[in-house]
Amino acid sequence: MSLSSPGVQSAAGPGARRSSSGLLQAWLPKLILAPSIAISLFFVYGFMLWTFVLSLTNSRMLPSYDFVGFAQYARLMANDRWWVASTNLVVFGGLFVAICLALGLLLAILLDQRIRQEGVLRTVYLYPMALSFIVTGVVWKWLLNPGLGIQAMVRSWGFENFRFDWLVNPDMAVYTLVIAAVWQASGFVMALFLAGLRGIDDSILKAAQLDGASLPRIYWRVVIPCLRPVVFSAVMILSHIAIKSFDLVVALTGGGPGYASDLPATFMYAHAFTRAQIGLGSASAMLMLGGVLAILIPYLYSELRSRRHG
């Protein structure tokens, strides 16, 4: 901003000379932004388009341009593993976003009660975010391994029948992803909510208190509605973490047992890069993109519209 404002002023100000340097200054911001816009247009939207084109071809090991229409999509729809991966994404994404929001909000509200050592606690909760998903995945892989981790520990305390074998149980493996991802991201959501809570005007709360509202009621009716923009950003961030989740699956379950905990991202990688099925992989990538848009566009639309109106 500080860079562009003198230029704007001199060009638009009264009596400004239309000199070449003034013109340059007016165009400078656009010139400076142009390369990055061009690069993102090319590398993001251009490659999206290319992926779409590839999804219509019979590309196998290397891209080819023999168009086969929507045959790859039909193959994808007939692929059992793809459906497992998509269902897993719905389960994982839904639970991950919901639990992170609930837990993050709860932690933030508790931390907001003017407690001692708040800074230390905040850091403790925020710390997992500093780790990469690979580290999280490996640590939780050990913790959840029935022979090494929690199950073995509780059994060694004498509870011989204790069972916690989700990691090796095909029906439950996807929930271990939720556990690890929630552990990693809820502290971050907490920080977002805490910042939101600190931004709420005290006088609103005081007014509510004067009106005789109970504390839970104040939170439910006043504070949480005030946090709506924070929920918006948190959902945006969490849902893209959920959809692009790849490293966590690779490190924690390896997609297994079998392919019970596969997600679309790991499916896409496996097919496009290791199984020489670039066409099929591109089709799955396009469907992932479609899924993201299907969730985000209505949400963005309603949020931005209601904000404009409110």
Partner: protein, 425 residues
């Protein structure tokens, strides 16, 4: 002015390098450079690859190492694809099995027929192996080593403690497993990863169906064989093996499973002969501290997994010369001996002195030659020697899903195998 200094230094270096190159090319007219893409990056493997480098340099050629780390070579393949797409492939790359044909179809591979004829590869290599190295009847790749996949490894102390001997048939395997379980050990160490499930599955299929059926089902992908009763039987037996394994196996790496055998927690493991590297690294000797035997019921067969170097088409005469030399050196005894001792595999040529190899490797080579004549020599599906990556992946999906599922029956898995093979064709 450090920047100025660097440029000048670089220029000097460049000048020296140019001079050297000129000098070398004057002394031997055909000296060229080979760039070799491979993933022999672990300790022993890297040493083995270095032998080849030294041999090349002794012949006056230049070796440009292009090692891309990462287990099964997935990363290396991704790098290779991007290099090939940009029109700048290396002169040689570690490509194996039917993938050689895929690269050949793209018209990117060079021709090694001259070397093959001069060195008599047709007599040296079993036809099953030579077939894989050729595209449209021309040699385009050279085999580096032969791994055997259908091995059973065992800890003799655990077997003694349970009072049993090495099983030779599947029935015996289930029998001794009961005794091992009672003695308090895990009968079979296994890692629940798709490729390991498939490795065990193909050995079981080989045992229950025989090598002819194996070839029909997993090489020719004959839908009748894939959906047959023999397939159902193989799948059922395969699933029964689950009872011999422990509950913590999902996601376990193969070498962790091997170390369970080494440490005496588990009695046996079904794994290819690269497992030997783990035993050797633990300071154990074949025959005394650990036992090797063909996978139960597969004594008459040999599932092979052959690493090979495929040669890309190059333009320069010197480069071509270097490439041909590389192909010749790879099959020469010096390299074969050094490389395979480091890697745990056996040489791709049968006429070597095997005295320096351990007993497992000697048995492996005998079986290799015997089965090459009897027809029991089959490519390993689990290790990408039998079918293309997409079909292999589809079969992996069915096998691992069936193995881990609680309620899928063998008939359903066989039916899915038929659809998987058809969909991928």
């Amino acid at each position: 002015m450090p920047a100025f200094k660097t440029t000048r230094f670089d220029k000097t270096r460049l000048a020296i390098a140019t001079g050297l190159v000129a000098a070398i090319s004057m002394t031997s007219a055909q000296a060229g450079e080979v760039e070799v893409l491979h993933w022999w990056t672990s300790g022993g493997e890297a040493r083995a690859a270095n032998v080849l480098k030294e041999l090349m340099e002794a012949e006056g050629h230049e070796w440009q190492d292009f090692a891309v780390a990462g287990g099964g070579g997935e990363t290396a393949m991704t790098v290779l694809k991007s290099r090939a797409m940009s029109g700048n492939p290396p002169s040689a790359a570690q490509i194996k099995g039917p993938e050689i044909q895929e690269w050949g179809e793209l018209g990117l591979l060079g021709d090694l027929d001259a070397v093959a004829e001069a060195e008599g590869w047709n007599d040296l290599l079993p036809e099953t192996v030579a077939e894989i190295m050729r595209h449209n009847g021309q040699y385009v790749a050279v085999p580096v080593n032969v791994h055997r996949v259908n091995w059973l490894w065992a800890n003799p102390e655990v077997l003694d403690a349970a009072g049993v001997a090495m099983p030779t048939t599947l029935d015996e395997l289930f029998e001794v497993a009961g005794a091992i379980r009672e003695a308090g050990y895990i009968p079979l160490a296994h890692g629940g990863q798709a490729w390991q499930d498939a490795t065990v599955f193909e050995s079981v299929l080989l045992a229950t169906g025989g090598s002819e059926f194996y070839r029909q089902a997993l090489v020719d992908l004959d839908p009748e064989a894939l959906g047959s009763d023999s397939m159902v039987k193989a799948l059922e037996t395969f699933k029964r093996l689950r009872e011999l394994m422990d509950d913590d196996m999902p996601g376990r790496d193969w070498n962790i499973a091997t170390s369970m055998v080494i440490q005496g927690d588990a009695a046996m493991q079904l794994m290819g002969d690269w497992a030997k590297g783990e035993f050797t690294a633990a300071g154990l000797t074949a025959g005394d501290d650990y036992l090797c035997a063909t996978a139960p019921g597969t004594a008459g067969a040999f599932t092979f997994n052959i690493d090979s170097l495929a040669m890309f088409r190059v333009t320069g005469e010197a480069e071509r010369e270097a490439q041909q030399t590389l192909a010749r050196l790879v099959l020469e005894p010096t390299f074969q001996q050094a490389f395979n001792q480091a890697k745990g595999s056996i040489p791709a040529r049968p006429d070597l002195d095997m005295n320096d190899f351990d007993s497992c490797a000697r048995q492996s080579l005998d079986d290799f030659q015997r089965t090459a004549k009897s027809g029991g020599l089959v490519p390993s599906m689990a290790h990408g020697m039998a079918v293309r990556a997409d079909v292999q992946g589809a079969i992996f999906d069915v096998v691992t899903n069936y193995f881990n599922s609680r309620d899928m029956v063998a008939e359903e898995a066989a039916r899915r195998m038929v659809t998987a093979a058809q969909a991928a064709l």
